[in-house]
Amino acid sequence: MEQLIKDKIIQVKRGNRAAFEEVVAFFQDRIYHHCLRMIGNAHEAEDIAQEVFIRAYVNIHSFDERRKFSTWLYRIATNLTIDRIRKRKPDYYLDAEIKGTDGLDMYSQLASDHRQPDEEVEGLELKQFIHNEIANLPAKYRSIIMLRYIEEFSLNEISEIMDMPLGTVKTRIHRGREALRKKLRHV
């Protein structure tokens, strides 16, 4: 699959738009999912996910085909989502109203913090509950946990995507796992 994507990218570099359309179709679900989990808002996530692909297209000539395309694409996605989170005004969280985002809505997150774990499980589907807990992680752990367990990148690839030393990736994944262990131990 990686080779197929590489061939498509070479075609894109030669100016073939249709090849890029295939690349978008192939990655759209994963990139959108990543943005949604990072951002928590379906509308904003779609916006950013589209921006990821537009930037990839515009900067396609800076991509080195000897590397993995998905790593490069996720690097754009990670930079854009983290940048968006940083730019948010604090009152955003209070105004946020999220429709159809699988219980990622900020009110339910705030509310869930004050409830007992048992009640949480009762009120939410298990998978939604897990996603909520991922969403509650600080962004620096959240992105790495997402990349490791949802996107299934290796630690080395995550180090490349996040542009941080392997040691930092390991420390953060340990802390992220510990934080989630405490949240999910009663499930």
Binding site: R14, G15, R17, F20, E21, V24, A25, Q28, D29, R30, I31, Y32, H33, L36, A42, E46, A49, Q50, F53, I54, Y57, V58, D102, L126, K127, I130, H131, I134, I145, Y149, I150, L155, K170, I173, H174, R177, E178, L180, R181, L184, R185, V187
Partner: protein
Amino acid sequence: MKCKKEAIELMHRYLDGDILKEEETTLRKHLEECETCQQHFHELKRTVTLLQSTENIQAPDHFTASVMAKLPPEKKHVKYIKWFKLHPVLTAAAIFFIFMFGGVLTSWNQDNQLVVSKQEDLIIDGETVIVPHDVTVEGDLVVKNGNLIIEGTVDGNVTIINGQLIDEQPFDQEGLMASVGEVNGELTHVDQVFEWMLYHIKSFFKNVFAVD
């Protein structure tokens, strides 16, 4: 072994596949005798399993189409430049044909006047060139924008461009060649633009590759 400092650190390294054989043995031995760490390890592994079991989400409908619609417009000239760089031989050939085509069409359109390559002893009657009975043309004969009647002999190739070889005896059933005088060479009849171009290209190559 300190549970918090050492054992938990080893658990995480185990989960990352980043653990040495002897460290793994150390961890296993500790887990056998420490219930707290056993519980901790169990919870960590379960957390990983739960994380991996989460459902995938699909992008909204028309996601790809919206991305494609938002891409910056294609810069045509950039595309051509890239194409030229990638196909230098084809580019050279294309440029050659553009020049050829341009030049040939210009000459095709510009001169509609009757041109005969040789005029000695030939009769020119309006738009018709006649090689009389008693005349032998030595060498090639080219007639452009006119018809040709051969009653005599041509010792060479005959080319008629944008014109016809006229049969003086229209009721002769034996065909064109029989009715004409002698052509001791090839008779070429060019009266289409395409053939005209081909003729030019052929003669161009003949000139280019001619060996004296």
